[in-house]
Symmetry: C2
Subunit: 397 residues, 2 copies
């Protein structure tokens, strides 16, 4: 599907010398030609980075004109100097469009515990300002500017019609795990030209992130920098949306965020399989998500999928320690459509057939169902490979 750009937004990304490889963008800028409302969700880690502290104070809010992004340095565990560096980045980004420092937001990812190379950052922001373009090439360059160990840039967009009015939503994100010596992180930036009030934007983002970016994992290690920002500049025109209009926007936002979220474990470090875990028949969506996460984070489940081994005991026992009560005799398990476990007892199946199905598909489907209620959750993860270990053990600081 073609990538559509919400009206009024332009973007650029350049190589400013933070990353060693000169072909890799490491500073990016996204500008709205009019003030935008913004919402944000952030890492729950107590040890959080300076840009997280900076953005969290300002969102939800109105009047935003710019988002500055850098990769190669997370500006995390950098104390007061890190905070003033983040503020300076916002000031520089805002100044490119004649705005105030508090009208810009900051996203950083990369190595932890090192101070920002502010001269390079300043030069990079200046270079971005010259390149800004409301075109796909600019958004690709910006999406590449947030990449660390990602092997592909991650962009997705959607169009939604509310009554007679057409709106666009476009997002970018990064994330593949964390790589030594860098602490890579999940970053997301979603833009829309729909007119939405900041508080509606924030509620919408909270709900959508819970079902999308909060339903993925690669290695279960929560970073210091995780951030998703959502900007709405209203450039498509019309009054602020409410009621059904907001619901339609939220549905489109869900589509964009789900696609972006899925792209992260799909690009998981060293991964050979993207794993989709559907948990059904739970009392609450939270319970379903907790079981799904327990299965997703088990290194034994992840290695079994890597080895194309239909080892259902690992999946069922990971559900058993999720901390969610359930009746074991109501448990059913399908892998790639094959029934492996039925009503709490082993089912007859051909191990060769299931193994061959896992081996020949890049995506593995796990469906775990219970008899506790009607709530469900979908969670995405990656398998665990020797390559993941090598990537994270063998590249030293």
């Amino acid at each position: 599907m073609a990538f559509v750009i919400p009206q009024g937004f332009s973007a650029a990304g350049v190589h400013a010398g933070i990353k060693r490889n000169p072909t890799r963008q490491d500073v990016a800028l996204v500008v709205s030609n009019r003030p935008a409302a913004a919402a944000g969700v952030y890492t729950k880690n107590l040890v959080y980075a300076a840009p997280v502290a900076f953005d969290r104070r300002l969102t939800p809010g109105d009047g935003f004109r710019a988002v500055v992004i850098n990769s190669g340095n997370a500006n995390a565990c950098t104390g007061d100097r890190g905070l003033s560096d983040a503020a300076e980045m916002a000031r520089l980004a805002a100044s490119t469009c004649g705005a105030e420092p508090k009208q810009a937001l900051v996203l950083s990812t990369g190595i932890i515990g090192e101070f920002m190379p502010m001269e390079k950052i300043a030069a990079g922001i200046k270079a971005c300002a010259k390149d800004l373009a409301p075109e796909e090439a600019g958004f690709i360059a910006a999406a590449r500017g947030m990449m660390t160990t990602d092997t592909v840039h991650k962009l997705h967009s959607a169009t939604v019609t509310v009554g007679q009015r057409g709106f666009h939503i476009a997002g970018m994100c990064k994330g593949a795990a964390m790589i030594a010596p860098n602490m890579g992180t999940m970053l997301g930036l979603v833009l829309t030209d729909a007119p939405v009030a900041a508080r509606d934007l924030q509620r919408m983002l909270n709900e959508v992130v819970d079902d999308t970016f909060n339903c993925i994992s690669v290695d279960g290690h929560m970073s210091t920098n995780d951030t998703v920002l959502l900007l709405a500049n209203g450039a498509a025109g019309g009054e602020k949306l409410s009621g059904d209009g907001l619901v339609q926007i939220q549905n489109a936002l869900h589509e964009v965020c789900a696609e972006l979220a899925r792209s992260i474990p799909a690009d998981g470090e060293g991964a050979t399989h993207l794993v989709c875990i559907d948990v059904k028949g739970c009392a609450t969506a939270g319970a379903a998500r907790q079981i799904a996460k327990s299965v997703a984070d088990s290194p034994l489940v992840k290695t079994a999928i890597h080895g194309a081994d239909p080892n259902w005991g690992r999946i069922v026992s990971a559900a058993g320690y999720a901390g969610v009560p359930f009746n074991p005799s109501g448990v059913n398990l399908d892998v790639n459509g094959f029934i492996l476990y039925k009503d709490g007892a082993p089912a007859a199946f051909s191990a060769e057939q299931v193994s061959s199905s896992i081996k020949t598909h890049r995506e593995t489907s796990i469906v775990l169902s219970f008899r506790e209620g009607n709530a469900s959750a979908r969670f995405w993860t990656a398998d665990l490979t020797a390559e993941y270990v090598r990537l994270n053990a063998d590249y030293h600081t």
Copy 2:
């Protein structure tokens, strides 16, 4: 230190044909020549094995004469037939010393979801009964009879004098992770000739296991079969212990269990480092343990240690998502005695020196301290290697 055997206990282990390799014991028997009090702690997994269900109903209690152990088959997810097989194993074990079925306990570990080969088990128990010996060789054979992917058998003992009376405590355990197609598990059996009432035994075991076997991890995947049993037969003579005597026994029990627990991650699948995580200065011991477990279970911390990479950001950020509140500016971190992080800020250190220290020691020490209180915890884990992935991905069902 020499291995001492509590009075009145004898043990044996034989190859009964459950494991393919004829040099490996797979059925073991431990018998007390008089009735013993017994306590047990079990997996909290909702999906638990038949022997767990069997033992849990009987402990704490009195009158036990035998414990039968097998490896190679976990008797987990085997429904009603599994339950009757476990009961039959108890009956066979008890009959070797003229006791009733409810005077025996059962420990199983190995493949999940397959029925027990009861003919082999019965023959194995019979062979064990002939071999029973109150000698170290018998206990080594029994400890080998509970091994799955363990590379060494795990035995430890202690002697304690209460007033003029000398008592002995001896324990065995197994565990290295889980290996495809088997679901290995943690099993422990501790014996003493001290006279202790069943309810004191249970309280003591609960407290000790919390600080020892519950403070280790290899891969964070809780099994269906985890069990630690403690038997006290009073063969050393005298009245039931109380007060200070119980405290002394509990201290010795702690020593034995701590040493056994540590031996499990030390033998972790594919591990090249045993990692000791000390967390200090927390409000409660539970908080300290929760932080230690969060650090221990992070694949990024585990791979960094495997790569001898002093990547302190991974350790500090894993503490940050443990779910325990703390002031980030009060955090200090030492690795192998080197200060890497002080008062919430990076410390100056030589990365080469720390890396070389990690590389040249089999054991890595991580000390994380906070300024929230005086409680602490010690936790043991193993590093994560490509060999772990190979062991768990490449050996298929």
